[in-house]
Amino acid sequence: MSSPGGTLAVELENATVRFTSERGSVTALENVGLKVPPGGFVSLLGPSGCGKSTLLRLVADLVAPTQGAVTVLGGPPERARHNRELGFVFQDATLLPWRSALENVRLPLEVGPKKRDRAGQRKPEDLLRLVGLAGREHALPHELSGGMRQRVAIARALVSEPRILLMDEPFGALDEITRDTLNEELLRIWRETGTTILFVTHSIPEAVFLSERVLVLATNPGRVRELVACELPYPRPLSVRETPEFIRIASRLRALLQTC
């Protein structure tokens, strides 16, 4: 369980998830192994139905493994969830429409077993500034653009200072320009907070641009195809996407995906 750098942030050992219904059973993930060190940035890439989201849900304790083991910060995922070590960002911002941006960011501080223990938690106002939404604290979600709503969701995920940030295609529904901006900001936030990030995406350039490593998953059943390292130095400006190294990694991922 321990690695040279100490306890792993996330470890999956032969994790299998099978969903059983009246019409039979579907294997979403089969024998998946993954080790993510603290502070790491790993993207999960693969075709639809390869179990990317299921893998994230395993770590978030939203799904339990049928077989195998999932360890988060050296313990069961449930403990990490109760201790507020996990932040989750969904594809839809999933803001409560009757709460202002600030009130949405504050939600994690108002619910759950550790809500009275505010010490060491970040101020919602500061987080809105961190995601570039200073001045829009009192706007309701329907008054914000899609990109702004997603920024609020990121601020909300960060408010309890989680050690692991789980992001399920967070920028999938956004236009490309907004997506680029948020990619750059996510890297900045990652470097500032030192959070471990697991990031699900459909986009090859996004995966290469953001991550240290990309886990390519194959479908039917969902399984690991390959773990690809993105050896590009940080900080990465958007222009890194035109370098030969970037293009080489992207083509390799594309080739891998074609055989998934």
């Binding site: 989750f88 999933t94 979600p141």
Partner: protein, 279 residues
Amino acid sequence: MDEPRTAVIAQPAAVARGAPAPATLPPRRSRSQALLPFAAAAVLVVAWQVLAQVFSLPIYIAPTPIQIARTLVGELPMLMRNFVPTAIESLIGFLLGNAIAIVVAVLFVHSRRLEAALYPIAVFVNTIPILAKAPILVLIFGLGMTSKVVIAAFICFFPTLANMVRGLTSVNPQSLELMRVLSASRAEVFWKLRVPSSLPFLFSALKIASTTSVLGAIVGEWIGADLGLGALIIEATHNFRSPLLYATVFVSSAWAVVFFAVVSFAERRIVTWKQGEVS
């Protein structure tokens, strides 16, 4: 809460300049459009007056608007004396019926078994026409105001129950996952997620109930009452006092409209967000 609302209302100017209208923006009615129903009503009233005079219809068949207005003014103290009990009955019935419906909806949401056992009975009772239910309730609760309150409460109960159950259960599944990631307790999910989600549904039901509670009180008074707009309607009809009948109908409608307007106003103040927004 006020500031963002003004910001939204101010946006049609941008629409006029050719900027794309945000999908969430409701079409704003201009002032002339808001006056349209009043103009149409005025035309109808004038046409009624003219036709009644041209064909010189007898007053007990079709009183003219002027005759009705004269009765309305002349009989105002008597109309008000009858209005007060109806207003009280419908108001208390409204509060009682909706309060019980909300409590039952909460119980149903927390116990599927209770819902399975009692919901079909609620549906069955709801299928009994109010005209059949009213005499039964008058037999049980007597000829006083209690029976009218109970009838008004009954008529409010079912729409609110059905809407509230739907509102409390129609929570965005992803919001529920979010609450699970946050390890929120059942009570926290209820108060911070289910209750606010249900408010738009609740207000749809309350708007229906605001007018039907008046209907319930009047139907109750038909069965037997000394005082009240319902009793006055029966009396005026039997005595062929058509202008009084019409004036009474006018007063009861005006009360229902005011009631509806108050509930709508409360809705606009409380439900400030956009319904059905996935965000």
